[in-house]
Symmetry: D2
């Protein structure tokens, strides 16, 4: 059994990690780390776990934890993991960081967009960007995984084949994204109250959302050259789910079938990517509670643009599920172990 | 492997059955029965099943189906199962009927409350009311299970110990129930449109909801004498979940602890009943997607009344989950096989 | 023009007061009181008011305010109004208090249920309980109005005629109430986050909700003798609306028509009470944004119980609308001035 | 008093028309036309109107109606108004058509995108596109108004000044739109059931939504040359509201302030357009129930793109409210008569 510790266990991503790990036959949870709820039973924070564990929340001491577990998940605010990590920890245990600390290779960009100092830039190079479908080989031997952000996961996987094959105009990429409210976390803010969110939609983070440089970096790797995009997220009155609607222009006239074949070339063996049938477009509800990313696209012959739509559950493939998928790869398990479940509908 | 066929596979309860059965290691689904979607691929009706099955929907021929499977689930409108069932079918296969056809022992009451003729009353006696926690022994050898209604399951399990022990006034039982919209089914009715249901709550079926006699019959067995109740269901703007708030009077002064011990006496070994800690009251979200019934109660010293609260997922313990629990018992499997999962929150 | 000042202008009830007062042809708002948002423009707190006012939020100095306005609305936490009120203020201006400070005549009961000291019990006697349909005459000449609570308004108006006429058993009154989330206010609490409330229903305040003694006191006046009830509120995933489902037993056999005539006797001239047609039961969406209370009931012949259903908008008739209705009465205006609008649906 | 008749009174737009007209001091509703609910009392179809009218639904005979009223609103499916309209009707009464029949000047484009024959193309020329802020002068003397579509209203008003002044690249306009479910109407379709829509977001009508040519035609007028766009609508789990997020490129470097001044030049006297403060972006909840369009934008210096956001209530400014605004102009009333109300929040 793999012994796992979770730091930040009482956030929504942390609790989803625990829910999924409890259904994973090779994992045993040894540590429910939560500074805010220390000494409280975990199920008292999330009553859905009643009868599944009586364990109490523990502190967030990474050093101590690294003696006791095989893998540490940090589902913590930006800056925490980078401030704690050190060689000794990494020599004893694998670390999968769900924060943004090690996602961006250029530390200046990280510091500029996140507005904080990176306290351990020396580990940035070593960290592997844990987008499983694309970096699978590097993940296998990694000690430190930078688990991708939710918007980046959905966006990059939806567009990747088109950029990799040079089929779209890299100067014209617009990503209009929509997310459920779990993406905003569990801290008590007026803006996230039921009465403010329900019956409402708003854009936020216009031109400066922090997932922008993460998306750009990864898409640039795919394109083989630097690109910048427009990224506009919106808050939707639902709990889970991200849907991205991406727009670009086709370099040359191509048929839907040809492009679909390109997507299949990259994804046909991927367990967690579903290329929907022609003219069936992703809906967040079809992936709820699962690790899938559903993708399809349509060509607008009139404008020569392509519209690509991707959907996934932000807490699963966008956070906890992908973290476990990374763990599975790192520990040599079946990649879909504990993750291959039918989405819950309705 | 148990071969299973589902008639009514394209309703919400049917689709939940299929979702849960796909996660059950001892079951293979052989028949997706749906008159309305015959010849259409199942995943085209519910895209969450994309990549899980390519099977097409088949008709609803119980006779033919009984040659091919070990167990038939009928998640069909009232009157269907009773019109089709016969000795030959039952001699070849187990039948778990999710409709109300065989739940009520007195056929006159059935016909009065449901307003239809019962076409096969001769099988009513044989049918076992599949409330697993209470009728487990009879279920083991049953050929025909009347899977309990959603409101009855939640109500009966929440009150049962109090009646069994003669602790409450049987002339004063009021059940005020609240249900999510999946309980209303998937047929296209104006009343169930998003714009009619959201931002709204209403009572319905006042004094004549068809689950009333079912609840009364089972509670009467528990009490050892006939009783009648008031039952008022309400429609809540959410997908899943039933919460019942039951009111009665205590026969004599009793402490919370004493009553809690009574509940424990009946339920302490039950996998799917969770007696919450003192002063923690059930919420539907804590059981979402799971087979649990969460229960707690409070004594009002001022009025000498007891208020009992129960919550469960209407599609799982209130329909598909309990049907599978029945199947597990009938086939000698672990009762919680394929059903013991952490509820999904949020 | 009546000059009005609002203390607590940035809560949900306060903002609804301002929305309604802006549509009132006889009122001019002179004071947007809000300690938390002092010096911020009001529309910056609630952007729906953009272009309607550029005024800034002011402090909560009742003494100063009483020099400048004809009527003060206090939409403030319990304890505020009672701590500030004095003879001088009341000699200069009318006060309509939306908090519970002056609702309960027995100060001991207030202090017990609210857990705070009442700092000005001497004004309790003078204060008029502002349930307009019942206390209209006293309201006319009042200086200090205790604006009724949301649950009490809906409950009392729904049951009043039955008690006044001695038709139901006063020892058997159970009120099962359901409220939208605006009732919980705008302060940032984890429990009221979208992700905690949506797809969820829960009971709260079991046996000890603070509206209980308020309801009991008023129902006792109606019955002419002291009575106690069971009151259980539930939180519903919607913004606005309260629905109450009340249960009692009929003293003697009575027909629906006879009881309907009793209701008509009391309410036939009431602008804001709608007795729905036979077998049409109230839904919160039918009163959204309006000052109506919709009422109907059904007799269960089997159990000899009567089930009464009432619905209203908790922010309007349950708070701001009723406060304005009180103001209209106090200032000799048409009682429905500024309040008689078609509810918004959907 | 203006006598008004509504055909299609029992759809959501029709019922919103009636709600707003009942608050309009110069209008008397004489005709509640509804083929599907003929002879039923209007309030029985929409109980929010209980006590406001006892009138029954009548048929949809435009000829007869034109003898009785001064203005006819047709809130009917495409093809109805164009099939009924004739010179005699127009000689007796004003017609405001909320369908698309007379919005598009090129009948071939209408027939291609809508897939139906236009039965009265001869009136297309005469019909005035009722986007009040832009075509006010023509509306004054019109007999037949083509009331704009919901998406077109929000989109055109949000972008208009930029095109009129030639500030953005007309070859690069992308409109990503989000709408509440009332936009889908009240007919009973599985896709619009609560359980299908809640907790879900989807794109629909990709590259072929019928509002596309309407938007393009009007934007082309503004630009002074033909342009085509990409338009992608999404369905959001809320009742009311449209938010559009439009993307284009700036022709030359311009500051936010300069562009804001351009917007002010066009809109500073417009009652129903609110240009939000810097860095405050529209939210649908801020305009709920009102006739406002809220607009703001942001320049992305990195990509030289401008992102424009507009929000409005699809049933009000996107349908019924704008229809009344047109009526006000046509009858020489104050343009905002009956329409200038504070949006309802929450």
């Amino acid at each position: 059994m793999i012994k796992a510790g979770i730091i930040g266990a009482t956030g929504y991503a942390g609790s989803e990690l625990i829910r999924l790990l409890m259904g994973h036959k090779n994992v045993e949870i040894k540590w429910y780390g939560s500074k805010s709820y220390k000494d409280k039973r975990y199920y008292e924070v999330y009553q859905n776990f009643f009868h599944f564990t009586d364990d109490k929340c523990l502190d967030d001491n990474l050093n101590k934890l690294s003696d006791e577990v095989d893998v540490i998940f940090t589902a913590t605010p930006q800056g925490f993991c980078s401030s704690q990590i050190n060689e000794e920890i990494l020599s004893k245990t694998k670390v999968i960081d769900l924060s943004a600390d090690f996602r961006i290779k250029d530390v200046d960009i990280y510091e500029e967009w996140y507005g904080i100092n990176h306290e351990n830039p020396k580990f940035i190079d070593e960290a592997v960007y844990g987008l499983c479908e694309i970096n699978r080989d590097k993940i296998k031997n990694a000690r430190l995984i930078a688990n991708p952000g939710c918007y980046p996961t959905c966006t990059i996987l939806s567009i990747y084949p088109l950029l990799k094959e040079g089929l779209i105009d890299i100067n014209n990429i617009i990503v209009d994204a929509k997310s459920g409210v779990t993406g905003a976390g569990r801290s008590a803010k007026t803006d996230n109250l039921f009465c403010e969110v329900s019956e409402n939609i708003k854009a936020y983070g216009l031109t400066n959302h922090r997932h922008t440089p993460e998306i750009e970096e990864q898409l640039s790797y795919a394109a083989g050259q630097n690109l910048i995009i427009n990224f506009t997220p919106h808050l939707i009155p639902m709990n889970r789910g991200i849907l991205i609607t991406a727009y670009s222009s086709l370099i040359k006239e191509t048929s839907y079938e040809d492009l679909k074949n390109i997507y299949k070339k990259y994804y046909k063996n991927e367990k967690f990517i579903r290329l929907l049938d022609d003219d069936i477009f992703p809906q967040t509800k079809w992936v709820q509670g699962s690790n899938f990313v559903d993708i399809n696209f349509k060509i607008d012959k009139r404008t020569n643009r392509i519209i690509i739509i991707g959907a996934m559950d932000n807490l699963v493939k966008g956070a906890a599920g992908q973290a476990i998928q990374n763990m599975n790869i790192m520990f040599g398990l079946e990649e879909h172990e504990g993750l291959y479940n039918v989405p819950m509908f309705p």
